[in-house]
């Protein structure tokens, strides 16, 4: 192995305060090497370095350049690390200026060693930690030291995230042990009649402490180790089983298989529609009508984000509309960031439109036994109003990009690139989508007509359409099921639902519900009845809204849903309003940060891949905060106004 410290010597490093061009840099480096006795003919080496630069820039990106050459006039291999107080244009591939240069020169007969040192240096500078520290170093000599000596990371530094995680889980357990025994459900009244008073004593207290620790540990684990979320959720569930807190039968029941079946079927349906280009076709047709007027184009794309977010799913919605925005932006040379943010905001707001749009909607529908019609009555109008306000806000915030200009867009060109190959299939796709929406919309009536239990027709409708699609696609149907369903996510959902339901099983949610109502009661000056429900709804809406901005919204909703169920059971008036508070909190809160929802992550991923630019956290939060506060505000007012109408 080539050891860089043998070749990158701090005493050879140079601070180039006066270099303004590549020629200046090479001149000063070559003269310096001549003074140090490394080079015999500095002028020739300078020409060689300049000549090689003309054959392709050695700016490798990230503010670095690695000029290199072998030459007869070089006596020994040397690396000169240079720092530039004023960044220089080095024609780097990423277009960035250069702050640090490492010049590598070697005798012509040491080509193999020269390539080894060059490769080692490139490898070292490719490590983000070393590169950042070297670029920030206050002198060239310090930068050379950083580059040459591989960083030693102690066990604690290497595993700091994991250690932090275990420490946090222990703290959670400690806090749960302290807090849960002191929260006591009052004797008498509904809690006693429901048999909840057993939750005040052992062995339930220990079960509650363990369940809370495992659930919060899982939420924290998914936040810190997102890639391993299934493993973390599975391990949590395993511990619950081994500890005897839940039996196998209850665990399977809590996995909410109807919810999983519905989401699974919808994944197949939506992937199929996406593959045959149904969504894209419809959006392209609409774009044709706006004739290049930027603000109208944004509104059309936002409207489709809302509708697709509500009737298909948020990820498909953002893939279609942002995919088109990318093409529009490329063709019209329009800035992409306003499109990105506006479309994501619209998708998240739209995902509360119906029960189909977001997994939390599906979960709430099954947990609260709510129908599609309930969603049309309670969720759609608020979501639609919020979407209109968000659209106006986005146009106001980005007005300089969308007014006073016109895009030179050929809509036919967009249509040509829309990837539609089979018009007959497209027709079948559109008809299937309409049939699916009608069946889902009528599920409650079908259930009443046929005497089926709640949610049966909903799952059946999705399964029937899936069956038709798989049959229609013949041998491709198998691929659709294998690839179209995100099995990883589904498995996570199953484990998560079971973990969350355990909070209800052990009485944690009954205690939290009692605590929440007590808080709401004290905030409303000790009043009872619907005022308490209103305050509880507000607390739930804003809590789920703000936390959903930082943590995946499904764990939050899965943990809070049993509280809503419990409060309904203990007779809180108009308690069904709480389901809607939960839905809007979970959906609208996703706009707060870049990690707030899956749609955000998908769109930002595509944005970064295409532009090579990162969206800064603060850049998102600045606009996301306004949008989230306004949309949560709209939901608050709308829910409070309708509170007494809620069952």
């Amino acid at each position: 192995m080539t050891r860089l410290e043998n070749y990158v010597r701090p005493e050879l490093a140079l601070d180039l305060a006066t270099a303004r061009t590549q020629r200046d840099v090479f001149h000063q480096v070559c003269m310096h090497l001549a003074q140090e006795g490394v080079v015999t003919d500095p002028e020739v080496l300078e020409q060689e370095l300049l000549g090689r630069e003309a054959m392709g820039s050695t700016g490798v990106g990230h503010g670095l350049a690695l000029p290199h050459a072998t030459h007869e006039s070089v006596r020994e291999l040397a690396v000169v690390v240079c720092k530039l107080p004023e960044p220089l244009d080095w024609h780097s591939v990423d277009g960035e200026t250069v702050n640090m240069i490492a010049v590598i020169v070697a005798p012509a007969d040491q080509r193999q060693l020269y390539l080894q040192v060059l490769a080692e240096l490139a490898r070292s500078l490719n490590l983000e930690e070393i590169r950042t520290r070297a670029l920030k170093a206050d002198s060239a000599a310090r930068a050379a030291e950083i580059v040459s000596v591989p960083p030693h990371q102690s066990f604690f530094r290497r595993n700091r995230r994991l250690l932090f995680y275990f420490a946090a889980v222990l703290v959670i357990f400690g806090l749960a042990r302290l807090a849960l025994p002191s929260i006591r459900l009052p004797a008498g009244g509904l809690y006693e009649r429901l048999g909840h008073l057993r939750f005040n004593a052992e062995p339930w207290l220990f079960r509650q402490e363990l369940t809370v620790t495992l659930f919060l540990g899982m939420v924290l684990g998914t936040l810190l180790f997102w890639r391993f979320r299934v493993a973390i959720a599975a391990a949590g569930l395993g511990i619950l089983l081994v500890a005897g807190i839940m039996d196998l039968e209850t665990t399977v029941k809590f996995m909410s298989i109807p919810t999983i079946l519905f989401i699974m079927s919808m994944m197949v349906i939506v992937r199929w529609m996406q593959n045959i280009g149904v969504f894209r076709f419809v959006v392209v047709k609409a774009i044709e009508q706006v004739k290049g007027v930027p603000w109208l184009l944004l509104l059309i794309l936002m409207a489709f984000s809302v509708v697709l977010g509500g009737f298909a799913d948020e990820v498909s919605a953002i893939l279609v509309t942002f995919g088109l925005a990318l093409e529009v932006s490329r063709r019209a040379k329009a800035p992409l960031t306003p499109f990105l943010l506006s479309l994501v905001f619209a998708t998240n707001v739209g995902s509360a439109l119906t029960l189909v749009g977001n997994p939390i909607g599906v979960y709430i529908a099954f947990a609260g036994r709510l129908s599609f019609e309930d969603f049309l009555r309670w969720a759609s109008p608020i979501s639609a109003v919020a979407a209109v306000v968000v659209a106006v806000l986005c146009l106001l915030l980005y007005r300089k990009h969308f007014f006073g200009k016109r895009y030179d867009l050929d809509a036919r060109e967009l249509e040509r690139t829309s990837g539609i190959v089979d018009k007959a299939k497209l027709r079948t796709g559109i008809i299937t989508f309409i049939v699916m929406v009608v069946l889902i919309a009528l599920h409650r009536r079908i259930e009443l007509l046929m005497g089926l239990s709640d949610g049966t027709a909903l799952v059946a409708a999705a399964l029937l359409v899936t069956g038709f699609i798989v049959f229609y696609e013949q041998e491709k149907g198998r691929v659709l099921v294998e690839r179209g369903i995100d099995w990883w996510t589904l498995l996570f959902f199953m484990f998560l639902f079971a973990n969350a339901a355990c909070l209800e099983y052990t009485g944690v949610t009954a205690k939290l519900g009692h605590l929440l109502v007590s808080l709401a009661r004290s905030l409303t000056g000790g009043s009872t009845g619907s005022d308490v429900t209103g305050m509880t709804a507000v607390l739930m809406l804003w809590f789920s809204g703000i936390t959903s901005g930082f943590v995946d919204n499904l764990p939050i909703v899965a943990a809070l849903a049993p509280i809503v169920k419990d409060l309904g059971q203990v007779g809180l008036p108009h308690s069904s309003i709480l389901w809607w508070a939960l839905l809007f909190g979970g959906c609208f809160g996703g706009n707060l940060t870049v990690i707030g929802s899956t749609a955000n992550l998908v769109a930002v991923g595509a944005f970064e891949r295409v532009t090579g630019r990162h969206i800064r956290f603060a850049e998102w939060v600045r606009v996301g905060t306004i949008i989230t506060l306004v949309s949560l505000g709209i939901a608050t007012v709308a829910l409070l106004v309708q509170l007494r109408l809620a069952p």
Binding site: M55, L125, N126
Partner: protein, 137 residues
């Protein structure tokens, strides 16, 4: 026609010759980068942590060595070339294709092991330019 070619360097001589001929013919600038083959990552997973780290570093070293070796060859034969300080997996292809504004991407089939399904489903629809996959025996 192909002013800027993005080439993910592979070990096969046939691939290198193909890119060099193409670059000469079109007077292109070649951007050289590296992809760590998935099968090697897979192989590393079965090793212990220290051994895995050593293997990874070794592979990175070899990859950078190949890249700079090729840059030398290209420049010596009059082909303009630049190295990009970004190694990664198949997911970085689109990022680099965009940042280099390339007209053609050349990728070796050997770099696609374990990721072949990603190519038609995730990568191809989002690429800004054509992609050539070389398959040398």
């Amino acid at each position: 026609m192909f002013e800027r070619i993005l080439y993910f360097v592979s070990e096969k001589q046939e691939d290198k010759s193909f890119v060099m001929d193409l670059a000469r013919k079109h007077q292109s600038t070649v951007f050289l980068s590296g992809i760590m083959a998935a099968d090697r990552r897979q192989q590393m997973r079965s090793e212990g942590e220290t051994r895995r780290k050593v293997l990874r570093e070794e592979q990175e070293r070899r990859c950078w060595h190949d890249i700079y070796h090729l840059e030398e060859e290209f420049k010596a034969s009059g082909v303009k070339s630049s190295v990009i300080a970004q190694q990664g997996n198949i997911d970085t292809i689109q990022l680099l294709a965009s940042s280099t504004r390339c007209d053609l991407i050349v990728l070796a089939a050997s770099n696609l092991a374990d990721h072949d399904y990603k190519l038609p489903e995730e990568l191809l629809p989002n690429l800004p330019c054509p992609l050539v996959i070389t398959h040398s025996g």
